[in-house]
Amino acid sequence: MSRASDLAVPAAGGAARRIGRRDVANVRDLFLNLVHADLTSRFHSTALGALWFVLGPTLTTLILVVVFQHVVRLGIPDYPLFVLCAVLPWSFYQAAVQNALASLTRSPALVKRVLIPRAVLPLSAVAASLVHFALSLLVLLGVMLALGRTPSAAVALFPVALGLQLLSLTGLALAGAALNVFYRDVGHVVPVLLRLAFYLTPSFYPLAYVPARWRDLYLLNPMAGVVELYRQALLTGGWPSPRLLAITFGASAAVLAAGIVVFRRCDPYLEDHL
């Protein structure tokens, strides 16, 4: 007899045959009910409720505007909107990852007392944050209309940007949630890394500021291309180079694939460690 190691293949009688215990309609409803639960219970004791999802990005934007328009004077036109196009997707990214990281550890009963397809926990956490993102986009839309701006044809890039963002976001959410069960350090380290990654995307500066010979390397950060796409969709117009799309897609898909692999390998041992 051998002991199970953290990430080894499970003993005979493993997970595969049991996945079929549930049909797709049940898993869909389970997912939706978890999203509903997340959205309903998140702001239960706050005075401002869901407004926090707008206030956070607004404050970040204000700070960046003051620093880079009035102190450093980058001289970029429409600077508040320019910054918002990066801050809103990033707030979504950080909130979703933070939510997903804790999704398994805060519900030990759903891991230890019942058999569910456990990936629905981080995935529903991401989906709940997506709803908040949609709300914050409404605010952005309001600001743009107030400034008398109408989106150009490049707004067609918006679903592309969102789709690419969801690829790497889902991958990070899956891997982070599972690894956080084994080492809670993950829950502390990932948000710090994300804050650093914010500066490695065209957040408060344009992509053109990045030296050409570093640009491919820079674009390996999946969010770098995504932020550029959001900005083209919502503000600057213009179309991305195929190279940017290809690199961003490749990097994002790689993160998703890694996330799925990590989650599947951790899944059989989550119960032992929680």
């Binding site: 007899m1 051998s2 002991r3 199970a4 190691s5 953290d6 499970p10 003993a11 005979a12 009688g13 493993g14 997970a15 045959r17 049991r18 996945i19 079929g20 215990r21 549930r22 049909d23 309609a25 049940n26 409803d29 389970l30 939706l32 009910n33 978890l34 509903h36 639960a37 309903t40 219970s41 239960h44 519900s107 009963a109 759903l110 891991v111 230890k112 007392r113 019942v114 058999l115 569910i116 084994f182 080492y183 809670r184 350090d185 059989p268 119960e271 032992d272 460690h273």
Partner: protein, 268 residues
């Protein structure tokens, strides 16, 4: 992929004679450190050193017969809950083989997914979907669930306003409305008031009358004696005895030291 309980694969009466078979199943749990130390675990990984832990189950073989009610008894730490987890698929055995050819309930205890800030109604839907129902199925059973739990007036209040008894009754009521061929119960019956316990008993009798299979863990020997045909006696992770309920329970009671706290406090 076809679910294992679909036609031809055995579900309820007419299914396999032994819907659950365990062969030499063992389960190793590592001792839980306060801190998971990365350096330490890397060192162990590199050197192949054993992580400190214990065998929660060792070499358990068991064939559950279709339609029977199997009781599992044993002192605390005997491996009863671990055995149920292995059967329900919540955890994987470290070695040995588990063959499940029936629709086995996938939950231990009740109300695992309950959330304090959701209403009773929302919790019924959430918990129902956790146990495998679709929202449509839950909607059609909703009134019956609420009636069994006896919470008609509180159903739209948040769960944190419920008493402990109401919460547990609601959890049991949801679980009782999910269809299983094999129902696994872990100390679920020692909770409600008398009226509720009678309704629970009626649900379980109906379940048995439909020739469904029941696996019951309980410290209440009276409950086990009243419901079960066969009893499995677990001791320190191994099978001490398996046989007819009367015989095994008599031996278990005789072997139990007088004043054993595990025997006096149900659910401990």
């Amino acid at each position: 992929m076809n679910p294992p309980w679909s036609a031809g694969n055995g579900s309820g009466p007419g299914g396999p004679a032994e819907p659950i078979v365990l062969e030499r199943v063992s389960k190793w749990y590592r001792r839980r450190d306060r801190r998971a130390m990365l350096a330490m675990s890397l060192y162990r990984r590199l050197t192949g050193a054993l992580t400190p832990g214990f065998w929660a189950l060792s070499d358990v073989s068991l064939a559950v017969r279709a339609g029977e009610a199997l009781g599992i008894v044993g002192p605390n730490g005997a491996g009863k809950t671990t055995l149920l987890k292995v059967i329900a698929g919540i955890t994987h055995p470290t070695s040995g083989r588990v063959a499940v050819r029936a629709h086995v309930s996938t939950h231990l205890g009740v109300g695992s997914g309950f959330q304090q800030y959701l209403t009773g109604r929302d919790n019924v839907f959430l918990q129902g979907s956790i146990l495998g129902l679709t929202n449509r199925q839950i909607a059609s059973r909703f009134d019956a669930i609420v009636a069994l739990a006896g919470i008609e007036t509180a159903v739209d209040q948040p769960l944190w306003t419920y008493s402990a008894g109401m919460t547990t009754r609601l959890g049991f009521a949801v679980a009782a409305h999910v269809d299983f061929d094999v129902l696994v119960l872990d100390e679920a019956l020692s909770v409600g008031d008398r009226a509720f316990n009678e309704r629970c008993a009626a649900v379980l009798q109906g379940f048995r009358a439909a020739q469904r299979t029941l696996i019951l863990v309980s410290h209440s020997l009276a409950t086990v004696r009243a419901l079960c045909d066969r009893v499995l006696w677990l001791d320190r992770g191994g099978v001490r005895a398996l046989g007819a309920a009367d015989e095994i329970l008599r031996a278990y009671e005789a072997a139990r030291p007088r004043g054993d706290p595990a025997a006096r406090v149900p659910g401990s």
